[in-house]
Each structure stands twice: as structure tokens, then as C-alpha cells.
């Protein structure tokens, strides 16, 4: 380590101490900032000590990172990871600076990386593996296009042709780019590969990487994912190294499925989270963790971070979920469809900067399919309640109650006809809801759990 790097490390460490202990904030980004200022390459010298696994993609990074860390800790004593939200260069630097790896075996760093930062982070960290979850269009992503996003990721991977790419093979975009790297593919094989369908109108990224023809599918899981093939050449989804072979039971709070014929369970609902579990499983196997160790990691009781949160409001069991784009909203609706109890849904829409100022995405979300769930009542609210009200009306639910004023939202929750209530909210609407729940004493903090 150069003198400069040592100094940077020292500054990083001490500023973390100051921040964390005096300001009582999770200071993961400021120490990184200081250290980078003193030595822009501080990471390179730090990274040499680690086996680095980078996890990137639009959705599922956080859960995949948490699950992967848990899986690896079954076998390894020395696994560090970055807290959710610290997935830019500074946050990652902060994580690595403040980690105190034990002497002995080489420590592993499991790092969630923002798609746009993969090249910069990879260059410094020389990853052993890249994990790719999926790429969807994200309204909040400053109108980034999926192929542009993937190109940014490719730039990072191309620096290290010897690194292993562990990718969701059900996502066709990952077959672009002709990477020479060794690959591990995971996906779904729970249905007969016999059908022939095209993706619904409202799906991104359905062009064949070989000739830009429209992909066909033997079966689809959600969005553009599934067993795709081309009708104009012999392109098709590659063979899977690890596959979901059966879905045994899906509920809002857990999913039970077979991986290559053996049963596993994760303590969080939603089919999309099974993809995240598959990514963690694949990394585990790649790193020599046994099937039974992975099974144990999945089933251990520790809370894993998800996009849903349970709160008791009076006699109501309330599940709060964040929605921000059509793919995410459809995942939430899919998760609700696995609920075998009657429930009510309150959907809250704001259009501030953090929500996305364009509300037109609500027309791309499949609210129509709520008809196939046990939903007993639906109502809308938030600053843009009118947009959502009309959306829900046109989805076939007619006139429905609206909650214009979120200061009365807790009473509205208490007045729902079912014991179980889902509240799906965009980001700032969720903050407003949490503030109300806090004022009524149902949760402690308005900002985060």
C-alpha cells in the first residue's frame, strides 16, 4: 500500500468514526468521499486483499446481495457487504475502508453496484465474478434505455475476461455482447419447453441479440423473462446450470420451490424474489457452498430486506409495498395473487421528483389482473389520486373511494372491510404514510424502519 493509500485509508476510517459516533448517522459515503479525494485509487490497494463479487441490475440487487452474503457466510468467516443504497463508488469505498477482515482466509466482498458505476468500480476492484440480475426500463433512471444501461455494464465486464459472469439466463439482454468470460446461467425450467408465444404488447427488450427479430417464448415468467427462442435463426436461451424445476407453494410471505429437483424455501414472497434467490444460489455453488448450506441460509430466520414491510394498525395487518414502475407494480400484483386470504388494497400515487414526475407508467401496470386475486376492496389516494382513480376505474373497478387527504389515511386503513390491508405507494407517498403512522404511534420512525 502506498503512503498515499495508507493516508486515505486512515482518513476514511477516522471520518467514519466521527460520523457514526458523533452524528449518529450511517456514514458510509462521506469517508469514501474523503478517501477518494486523497487517493483516487485507494480502492485498488484495498481490493487486492479481497475476492470481490459485484452484483448489478435494475431490480433485485439489494435482496440478491443480502441473500448471497448470507449464503457465503455459511462456509466463509470473512464476508463483507455494502449496506443497501451505498452502491455508488463512494459508498463502496466506505464499506471497504471500514471493514476489519480477520486474519486467515482471504475475505470476500459481496458488493451491490449501481449499473452506471460498474465500469469504475470493476476497474478498481478486479472482481472475481459479476452477477447480473435483470435490466428493465426504469422511469426514475433518467430515461435511460436498457441497451445503454447494459452497454455500461459490459464496459466493466470487458476489463476482466477471466472473471465469471453469473447471469439470469431468462433475461435475453444478457446474451448480447459476445463475452468471452466463463459463465454460470440460472433461470426457470418449471414448465414444458413446448409453447410458442410472443411477449405482451407492453414488454421491453424482446429483440433477439442475433438479428433483432422478435423473440418467441416457450413460456414466460414475468416481463421479458422466460424460455425465449428465435424463429429466424437457431438462437435460444442457453442451457441452465441451475434451474427452478418446480414451484411448490407461493405465498405473500414465503416461496417454496425446487432447484434442480430439491426443495428450498425463502422467507419472502413474490416470484421475482425467486430469481434473486437463484442468483444467490448460483454464487454460492460457484464459491463451493454446498446445497444443504444454501438451504440453511435461505431458511434461517433473520429478516431479509425486501420492498415490503408489515405493520399492525389497530386490528389490521397492513403490508406496505413500494411501487414506482410497471414491472415493479406487476410484481406486487403477482405477489398479491398468491394471497389466499381476502384483502383490501389502497394505492397511493404522488408525482414528485423522487416518485418520477411522469405518472403515465400507471397505464403500463396490469391493474386489470387484480381481478384474479382475493381483493375485496380497492381505493386510491395521494397527490395524484385523480390519475390513479381513473386508471382503476378503467381497469374495471368503477367508482371507488379516494383518499385525497393523507392525514386521514390511518382512519381509512382502519375502516377497510378486511383484516389484511395492502398499501402500495410511490416513494414520497410512502413517506407521508409513514409520517401518519408515526404520529398515531404505529411505527417509531417516519423515515425508515
Amino acid at each position: 500500500m502506498s503512503l498515499r493509500s495508507s493516508l486515505a485509508t486512515f482518513v476514511g476510517n477516522s471520518s467514519h468514526f466521527v460520523l457514526k459516533d458523533i452524528l449518529h448517522r450511517g456514514g458510509t459515503s462521506l469517508p469514501g468521499k474523503l478517501a477518494i479525494k486523497i487517493d483516487p485509487n485507494v480502492m485498488t490497494s484495498l481490493a487486492e486483499k479481497y475476492d470481490v463479487i459485484l452484483i448489478t441490475g435494475t431490480n433485485g440487487k439489494t435482496l440478491t446481495t443480502a441473500l448471497t452474503t448470507r449464503v457465503l457466510r455459511e462456509k466463509y468467516n470473512n464476508v463483507i457487504t455494502n449496506p443497501s443504497g451505498s452502491n455508488m463508488m463512494q459508498g463502496i469505498t466506505g464499506t471497504m475502508l471500514t471493514a476489519k477482515p480477520k486474519a486467515g482466509e482471504k475475505p470476500i466482498a459481496v458488493l451491490e453496484v449501481d449499473e452506471a458505476n460498474v465500469e469504475e468500480v470493476a476497474r478498481q476492484l478486479k472482481p472475481k465474478a459479476f452477477v447480473l440480475t435483470n435490466i428493465f426500463r426504469d422511469q426514475l433512471d433518467r430515461y435511460g434505455e436498457i441497451y445503454t444501461t447494459y452497454e455500461k455494464i459490459l464496459k466493466g465486464i470487458r476489463l476482466f475476461p477471466e472473471a465469471t459472469v453469473i447471469a439470469n439466463a431468462d433475461s435475453p439482454i444478457f446474451m448480447r455482447g459476445n463475452l468471452p468470460n466463463p459463465k454460470v446461467y440460472y433461470g426457470f425450467n418449471h414448465e414444458e419447453a413446448s409453447g410458442d408465444m410472443r411477449a405482451p404488447y407492453n414488454t421491453d427488450g424482446v429483440l433477439s441479440p442475433t438479428d433483432d427479430s422478435i423473440l418467441h417464448y416457450h413460456f414466460m415468467t414475468f416481463a421479458n423473462q422466460g424460455y425465449y427462442f428465435s424463429k429466424t435463426d437457431d438462437f435460444k436461451r442457453p442451457e441452465l446450470d441451475y434451474a427452478i424445476t418446480k414451484l411448490n407453494k407461493l405465498t405473500p410471505s414465503y416461496s417454496n420451490f425446487d432447484i434442480d429437483g430439491k426443495p428450498f424455501q425463502i422467507e419472502i414472497g413474490g416470484q421475482y424474489n425467486i430469481y434473486n434467490a437463484m442468483a444467490a444460489y448460483s454464487v454460492g455453488r460457484f464459491m463451493g457452498v454446498s446445497e444443504s448450506q444454501i438451504k440453511h441460509a435461505f431458511e434461517s430466520n433473520a429478516q431479509i430486506f425486501g420492498r415490503q414491510e408489515a405493520v399492525k394498525v389497530g386490528d389490521k395487518d397492513v403490508t406496505i409495498v413500494l411501487i414506482k414502475n410497471p414491472v415493479g407494480a406487476n410484481q406486487v400484483i403477482q405477489m398479491m395473487s398468491t394471497d389466499d386470504q381476502p384483502f383490501s388494497l389502497i394505492a397511493l400515487l404522488n408525482a414528485n421528483y423522487a416518485d418520477g414526475i411522469d405518472t403515465s407508467w400507471i397505464w403500463d401496470a396490469d391493474f386489470e389482473s387484480l381481478a384474479d386475486t382475493n381483493m375485496q376492496a380497492i381505493s386510491t389516494g395521494g397527490e395524484r389520486y385523480k390519475d390513479l382513480y381513473v386508471r382503476i376505474k378503467m381497469a374495471g373497478y368503477g367508482d371507488q373511494p379516494v383518499h385525497e387527504d393523507l392525514t386521514k389515511i390511518v382512519e381509512a386503513i382502519e375502516a377497510q372491510p378486511t383484516e389484511h390491508v395492502y398499501v402500495a405507494a410511490t416513494y414520497t407517498a410512502m413517506l407521508q404514510l409513514r409520517e401518519q403512522l408515526k404520529q398515531k404511534g404505529y411505527i417509531k420512525s417516519g423515515m425508515e424502519g
Binding site: 434505455e145 410472443r198 429483440l207 405518472t359
Partner: protein
Amino acid sequence: MADYKLQTAHLYGDLMNTYGDYGNIIALSYYANLIGVDVETQVISLEDDFDDTAYDFVLFGGGQDYEQMVVTKDLPGKSEAIKRYIENDGVFLGVCGGFQLLGDYFVLADGTRVEGIKAMMHYTLNQTDSRFIGNVVIEDPTNGDVYRGFENHQGRTFLDAEERPLGMVKQGNGNNGEDGGEGLVYKNTYGTYFHGPILTRNGNLTLRLLQTMLERRYPDVDWASQIAQLEPEFF
């Protein structure tokens, strides 16, 4: 079972579908169902032919640059049929990319000129490092109706002397931020940059389009009085 049926073609609906464009079909179906009319929708994409006699409504939405280039290569095979549909007074809605592609040409962010299908002669230039993003309000000069929407486009579109805009801008940028026009009307063809789907938010316009479609398909029915019973959404 409804006795009446409208057929909709969602042109390249699997490639050109950004920002809620499909909402236009949801709104149309919603009002149609209220007066006992079914709306069926087919995606017409790369592998399909466009039959200009088969449809009562065509939606052509916006897309990402990559998909838009793939569509541009496929369009020459369909453009004659699309032109016939438009010239025969078919109801057509082009949003953003779909609006641009109906015209003479457009210029990409990197300066490349891409030929449109030239059903009309408007053209679209690019602007460097900026986009028109935000709420738009326009007024229809033919009837004083106000339309609300959300625009999000880099292209600046200029109408040909024979075309007229859908409305004059009260708030926002419109076609090019210069001449005060938004969108385009030619026969029963409408172009717009409204992504906050224009037909969901502006029920008056939706009902006018619906009436035109129904009168073309079922000329012997009094559609005007049935449609007059409907309450158009406006927000």
C-alpha cells in the same frame, strides 16, 4: 355479448410502447364498453402484415431509440398500407415516435437522418443535451377544447404548410417550443407528444374519435346520441 365490435391495431406494440401509450386503448375500450361495443386489439409487429381494411383504430406509440431504429427498417414494407388507411379516413393516433415516423424524416441525437413513412410531410429535428419534459396544456382551435398531458421528447417537430396542429400550447413546449403548436391533425389522423396518455386524460377527444370509428364501421346506428350520454373523464 356485444353486438358491435371495433378492431384496433397496436402498431409495433411490443417495441414502441413507452410511457403508458397503451392507456389510449384502455380508455377507448372503457367508453366503448359502456355503450355495448367490444374493442379487440392486435399487435402488428415485425413479423406481421398491416391490412389497411381490417381496423377501425390504429395506435402507433413511442419507443426507445434502439427499438425505433429496428422499426424504421421494417416500416417500408407496411408504409403503403398505412398511407392507404390514413387517406381512407381511418382513425389513427401517433404518439411521440409514432407521430414523428408518420412524417418526412427525423434526425437522431447523433445527427443521423432517418426517413419516415411520409404519410405527411412534417419533419423532426433534434436538440442537443436537452429534452422537453413536463406537463402540457393545449387548446384545440377548432372547438376551444382544452387537453392536458405530459410531454417527454428530444425531437422538435415542424408541421408542413398543409398540416394543422391539434392544439395551441397554453403550458409546456409542444411540437418544437417555437411556433406554439402541439401535435397534428390530418383527416382522422392525430399526432401528439402527449405521453400522459392523451385519450385517458381527455375524454372529449376520446369520445369524438370513438364516434368517428363507430360511424365509419356502423353508419346506420345513431351513435351521437349514445355517446352524448357518456361522462368523459378529464384530469
